[in-house]
Symmetry: C2
Subunit: 308 residues, 2 copies
């Protein structure tokens, strides 16, 4: 490409290493007690109507905190229409869901509990079920000491969001490279990083998690999803999707809003083609994919909680 | 009860502390490679036809390696007719399932993959799916170095069984007591242990996991399950169930073959009544239940595997 630069520093400056933590909202300070409670709730299947589906069913720690199937499967085995994004580093995104219909993790957390194709549980019933457990009564009281009735839906959301903000993946080879360890990336990966900038990927995939948290029209194979249009009703948003993070993208296949593409080479090829009118050669594809593999960081070392 | 003895040594001799490992079958030596592979397979949802149900869905590490609902919920949200037993210490049982229809963990492991109400996956298809993954090809080759085609159903069973044999819960207060630490049990727990022997519970609940691995008729509320009779066709076995382990029984509620009883006091009361014609007083029930709580050991510290 025409804009290729020789100076590594130029490329480095286009990116930033992953901070230790995402921004913490002023009205949900992050405490050890909330994180611990949020972890319990994230793994808690008894707030689903079947009693066996938890957040961790679809955002499975064994599978990069996603499910690695095309479209989510939830209550009664129903298949949804969208691919499950990882919750890793989700605290860095400024818009949640493929259509950005929630701004924050707090706003997001109650949706899947109630959604018919996910956990299919009435929220009042979920709260009532939690209230039955002495252990939850203790944990909610410790996490929300100022509340007279601490077990409520808002606090469920606050605790889950606090836990999710701990699910970050620092120290990827790319982060180590950005911090000055030149040997952390292979030559192919460095060439891939340069292509990623030169071809224009970084115009949308930028910031700490390589997402602008903004909406762009994309035609994923077989998708009839209207994307952001469903939220805004704005014609310009029809078939537009929030740019996903590319951190850990090597372990969050399949790709795109409907999980229609399994192969990362193909996903990159389609991005170049549709988003930038650029046709990658096979050699270039290998390099960009090698670069994307360098975005896999250290997975959070979570042992399952002991639920009551 | 008439047979009450004063000598603690008498009661101690009725029991044995949990050994570090259950018996290892001669034809499935336990290797690090098999255990690691078995752990992956235990957490692997893609060998279910929905793609989201694994052994760990029902035998959930966050819930005492069971599901804490009355009857198991599996493929398409279907409810089975039986309560999910924990897999903790299952290697010590000489008969698997409520009806003992399998003798070994190896014999047991493939059943749930194929069962329509559990994972509902054709075994050949499960094996074919595993063969697609480079990582599984490597792990099976390392675990079964003598096999030309190591990814097959038998080896899936061998690996899962090897992993399960590591899921033991040593060092419960009761084990510490049996090893000589007098202070490990409270006075109520010691009184409960004496009652457990004197009333006759230990005639069926004995050996390292407090199960004789034998069959006894019991009428759980609402159960129409014919139990062992389904396997043998023998009239004497109608409504007979294999004695379950009592290790970790405090964390494996609800109780009985159909999960019909939630409260441990009630379960103990019913055992005394039906099995031994003995009616516990409330004070005695508290003591026996206190004793049963002393059977909760150290949970295996398992972090979810990183699946391919
Ligand atoms: C049945 C599967 C399923 C369950 C259960 C589930 N999720 Fe999700 N999750 C999804 C899918 C699918 C999406 C994308 C939906 C969309 O964009 O409309 C999603 C999106 C998200 C997002 C937004 C991530 C992003 O990049 O936009 C977060 C955060 C999240 N889920 C957290 C949770 C929490 C917390 C729970 C439990 C309270 C949960 N999920 C339960 C499937 C599931
Ligand atoms: C105009 C904005 C924009 C540009 C430029 C862009 N992307 Fe994307 N990228 C997106 C959006 C939006 C999606 C989600 C599309 C969807 O799923 O419908 C996406 C999805 C992806 C995915 C799939 C991620 C996942 O988890 O599903 C990959 C990989 C990717 N982009 C890489 C690239 C590469 C490499 C380039 C440069 C060749 C690039 N993108 C250029 C906006 C952009
Ligand atoms: C849908 C829920 C479900 C799934 C999935 C499931 N199990 Fe089970 N498991 C059960 C139930 C219910 C029983 C008792 C069935 C019976 O007795 O007929 C059981 C019994 C067992 C037992 C016998 C324990 C005892 O005390 O007798 C073992 C061991 C076991 N399962 C291991 C596994 C393994 C390994 C897998 C995955 C390959 C698995 N289970 C998948 C629900 C499940
Ligand atoms: C004659 C044999 C026998 C005797 C005696 C016996 N049990 Fe049981 N126990 C069983 C069997 C068989 C079951 C399983 C019954 C079922 O679920 O249908 C069982 C189940 C239990 C359970 C529920 C375990 C679970 O995980 O569901 C508890 C608790 C229990 N027994 C405690 C006791 C106590 C305490 C005594 C003495 C008062 C006792 N048992 C006497 C055979 C016996
Ligand atoms: Ca909201
Ligand atoms: Ca994906
Ligand atoms: Ca049980
Ligand atoms: Mg099209």
């Amino acid at each position: 490409p025409a804009l290729a630069q020789d100076d590594d520093a130029f490329y480095r400056d286009m990116f930033e290493p992953l901070p230790a933590l995402p921004p913490i909202p002023a009205d949900n300070s992050m405490t050890r007690e909330k994180i611990e409670l949020g972890k319990m709730l994230f793994f808690e299947p008894r707030i689903s109507s079947s009693g066996v589906i938890s957040c961790a069913t679809c955002h499975n720690p064994a599978l990069g905190w996603t499910d690695r199937i095309p479209r989510a499967v939830g209550h009664l085995g129903q298949e949804g229409s969208r691919n499950t994004p990882t919750v890793l580093n989700a605290g860095f995104l400024e818009a949640q869901f493929w259509d950005g219909r929630e701004a924050t993790l707090e706003g997001q957390a109650l949706g899947p509990i109630a959604a018919d194709v996910e956990m299919a549980m009435d929220l009042d019933q979920a709260v009532a079920r939690l209230q039955e457990f002495e252990t939850y009564r203790e944990h909610f009281a410790a996490a929300f000491p100022d509340d007279a009735e601490p077990i409520n839906a808002d606090n469920v959301a606050q605790a889950i969001a606090s836990f999710e903000r701990t699910l970050n993946t620092p120290n990827s080879p790319f982060d180590r490279y950005l911090r000055g360890d030149e040997g952390a990336l292979t030559e192919d990966q460095i060439a891939g990083m340069r292509l990623f900038v030169d071809v224009g990927c970084a115009s949308c995939h930028n910031g700490p998690v390589l997402s602008d948290s903004n909406y762009h029209v994309f035609d994923a194979p077989g998708s009839e999803d209207e994307g952001r249009f469903v939220v805004t009703g704005d014609e310009a948003d029809r078939f537009a999707f929030r740019t996903p993070t590319l951190r850990n993208v090597a372990v969050t296949y399949p790709y795109f809003n409907n999980g229609s593409v399994e192969d990362l080479h193909q996903a990159v090829y389609m991005m170049g083609d549709q988003m930038l009118g650029y046709e990658f050669t096979d050699g270039e594809l290998d390099q960009v994919v090698a670069f994307l593999h360098a975005l896999t960081g250290e997975m959070p070392a979570i042992t399952p909680p002991a639920l009551p």
